[in-house]
Symmetry: C2
Subunit: 147 residues, 2 copies
DNA sequence: TGCAATTAGATTGTACACAAGATAATATAC
DNA sequence: GTATATTATCTTGTGTACAATCTAATTGCA
């Protein structure tokens, strides 16, 4: 009786909890790999976008990463202090701050090349499972904005 | 050529990123529901375990939630300040702090009953998709500890 | 043109996460 | 039985997250 009534509030019946816990566990697994690059996990995924784009505004970066300026501003200042990027106001629109990859930042990409394979080896999922998980996570991520 | 070489470092080819981003998005969706209960998301899942156990040590709580005392100590002090739990040293072992549900904390459970259904309505996943996702997330969560 | 609305970014304040180190209590080895 | 190791928790410091607020620049429109 009571079990049924409160079953919805049991941790083991939540979808959010394994999502939250697994996310933190994966980030924890990245730590040793990323420490060698002097990057945190958030800095790492930020660098991924910058490696791809070479130059991008804070706003666009936030759109890609689902992060706002409150998180990105200090993070980008830190990446700038490490010498991986520069931050300059756009001349075309002074509101915009453009983040640009430096040579040091580009060189870091080479050293980061081994990270993804190392991480994949840590995860005990088959390729099919990983693909299914990937699809479902993106469905979650892109579907709930309407509410 | 270059694309292939660096494909592993593209954000869109990461499994970790949608995991991380979806986790934050779901927690963001919980916010309006939990604000009415004066709980953050982490406090909410902590209360779930305490509602279930009534009394639990900080260590056991950390095992259930994958959180350490550095996170839990201030969080539990905050829950204590709100009147939902008490924190007392175990008499049997003075190293252990026992967290106990108060009457106020128990009453909060009633008000939390509507949260899970409200959240499920926000997620546009079928029951089958949710079940698959749940299974894969727990596989991730429980399988990578060996490395 | 001129001004209200919008936009991009920075700042502030609160709350995690978590590594690293400290402290006190208990268990273990000898 | 005592020295040592282990354990549980707390504390400190760093780095996110994110809401709310602020500022400055740009856009839109009457």
């Amino acid at each position: 009786m009571e079990q049924d009534h409160y079953a919805g509030l049991l941790l083991e019946n939540q979808l959010c909890f394994p999502l939250y816990a697994a996310s933190r566990e994966i980030i924890r697994l990245y730590r040793p790999y990323l420490e060698a690059l002097d990057l945190t996990y958030t800095q790492y995924i930020t660098m991924m976008v910058i490696w791809e784009e070479r130059e991008i505004s804070v706003k666009q970066l936030g759109g890609r990463l689902y992060l706002d300026s409150g998180t990105l501003t200090p993070l980008l200042k830190s990446l700038e202090a490490k010498g991986y990027v520069t931050r300059t106001r756009s001349e075309a629109d002074e509101r915009v701050v453009l983040v640009r990859l430096t040579d040091t930042g580009l060189a870091l990409r080479e050293r980061a090349l081994s990270v993804p394979a190392g991480m994949r080896a840590c995860l005990r999922l088959t390729d099919a499972e990983a693909a299914t998980l990937y699809k479902l996570l993106y469905k979650l991520l892109t579907s709930e904005t309407g509410n």
